[in-house]
Assembly symmetry: D3
Homo-oligomer: 135 residues x 6
Amino acid sequence: MSSVMSASRQPIEYRDATSEVRAVYDDIMKTRQTNWVNNFWKVLAHDPPTLRRIWGNIKEVMGPGLLDPKIKELLYLAVSASNGCRYCIASHGAAARKQGMTDAQYSEVLAIVGLANETNRLVTALDVAVDPQFL
Amino acid sequence: MSSVMSASRQPIEYRDATSEVRAVYDDIMKTRQTNWVNNFWKVLAHDPPTLRRIWGNIKEVMGPGLLDPKIKELLYLAVSASNGCRYCIASHGAAARKQGMTDAQYSEVLAIVGLANETNRLVTALDVAVDPQFL
Amino acid sequence: MSSVMSASRQPIEYRDATSEVRAVYDDIMKTRQTNWVNNFWKVLAHDPPTLRRIWGNIKEVMGPGLLDPKIKELLYLAVSASNGCRYCIASHGAAARKQGMTDAQYSEVLAIVGLANETNRLVTALDVAVDPQFL
Amino acid sequence: MSSVMSASRQPIEYRDATSEVRAVYDDIMKTRQTNWVNNFWKVLAHDPPTLRRIWGNIKEVMGPGLLDPKIKELLYLAVSASNGCRYCIASHGAAARKQGMTDAQYSEVLAIVGLANETNRLVTALDVAVDPQFL
Amino acid sequence: MSSVMSASRQPIEYRDATSEVRAVYDDIMKTRQTNWVNNFWKVLAHDPPTLRRIWGNIKEVMGPGLLDPKIKELLYLAVSASNGCRYCIASHGAAARKQGMTDAQYSEVLAIVGLANETNRLVTALDVAVDPQFL
Amino acid sequence: MSSVMSASRQPIEYRDATSEVRAVYDDIMKTRQTNWVNNFWKVLAHDPPTLRRIWGNIKEVMGPGLLDPKIKELLYLAVSASNGCRYCIASHGAAARKQGMTDAQYSEVLAIVGLANETNRLVTALDVAVDPQFL
């Protein structure tokens, strides 16, 4: 009987994937104009409906919209940094780089993430009433 | 003896503030070009060194830098939404509005915050290995 | 059929409690040398085994030990503030007050809670390697 | 002087344990009908009262009750996955497997954990009022 | 200019909804066999693509699968309780009730959520190594 | 183009640091009366204004105040343990050791952190009303 952390959750490579999974991999590569798929999708591929569903969400939410693609990646990166998700920081950090994020801009993002986490706790602990001007 | 949630933590108005506290209030209003100070600062004013220190941090981190002021506010707002800090959402939401954030853009921010929280958990639970391409 | 937020979770007063629940209330009041029981216990009383179990844990962990009772309450308060649990801040804030925590000391506690939340995120996002000196 | 991460927190094996600690190990193995004890308990064993207390809690909460043992393990696993506790996912994942959780069922658990984290943030950020029907 | 917490985020009633939004409301009511829609959806309705997308996710993840519908609701409820999302506890608590969750079963769920949060922190702080048996 | 996790974030040693960064390193060593600087600062050094700002905050908040230095380190350690920041536990654990924290006292800290996380969730999920005595 396999563990939840076992080989049963190893990344599934394109050559080993079903046609259903390959179709998602193909769409990821086409959408991102790359020739490889990152591990997150290859691990999700053990559960094809979830692979398809999550990719559909990412494609819609992170696709063309009102905010600039770079801003969207910075937001995803900031939330991932705030949550301490190492893989997500690596993958969305790479995506933000691709959109032009510099080292110095990343430092600004992290400074904001850190400070927001500080003031969020102070505000909540102090139970500050929302100003009428904000309502 | 007062409670940690008592009147001793009510907002301190300008007219009731010491000159040390007024100096910070003045700098907040001058920097933001407003004629009022929001409750967060008025509650922090019970502890003037913390008021001065946190304002100094906000002024430096959220002041002119490499990222556009609007992007900075969107990042602060996204982290606050992810952390569920109602007051912070209200105050940084107002600041983002001031910088031009529309209703529809705010919807995009929230969609990213929500989705990042979903995928952050999936990635962490699945213990996905960082791709060499991201290192 | 009742809601999870319904009257079925209203505080159970001493006069309405079973002898099993009263025994816990009595022990709480005796241990704390008070003549009342706060709402947390009165709500837990809908599930007497949990009431008894959680009180047993609190009595053991927060009872006499190696750290001063005041320090213990400050630690409980700090974690509750970090987690944003309003009721817990109120109740453990009151307990800390009883142990002598002043307004100014509470401000120091909150400053530490806020700053730790900031640096915790920076450290995790930057994936800082533990120094050999710390191992 | 030892570090908080030093050898002083290495797992304590049965052969090296005091009789007080062995009694808990024996009860864990008897209750779980296994012939080994996992690292969590062996590390907690540096603090025998905490070892005894936490085991007592687990034994009571996770023991026979109203919900099926498998459901209980799925709930523990879901919360651990939501909190990103790698060890807890591994240990409660193994326990859930023992109760019959399949790979595909685990995928469903993770899908729920992920989606709940997404909608939890949306709901909180949008400050949605509780419907009267739910009260 | 409206606030992020303003009337622009008030629930949109069926009579005031566009046909695109009504189609989602209709599908929610048909799927759940109810004659009303709860506030979460009515607030999301300000952003129809997100309304449609999130409902699509919920319908797929919480629809018929391998785990019993009641178990699924208990899992959603447990994660929501762990995250402290009051609205989500109310709404998924109601859904779990509908599936047969009793008061006493809910108490068991909460006991597991609380204990998992305790041991998750102990395990992480103690940096416990995953046992080979779990890999 | 470098990754967010690349060599561009490796610790900057004193010999390789600019005079601006060295000035902060010197102040850290002087303040702490040590002859080395830990990795957190050496990684922050890629962004000198953040290095200076965060050190200024730590120096002020963790410097002499109303609470004993040992208590301050225990509070920082408790919050870091609650947040699961491994590096922070190691570094503030070492600082607390230096202030006299024993193994047994650390066990008490962790017991409080764990229990607070448990009761924080119970209280929030049960939506317990704050007692008038605490207001």
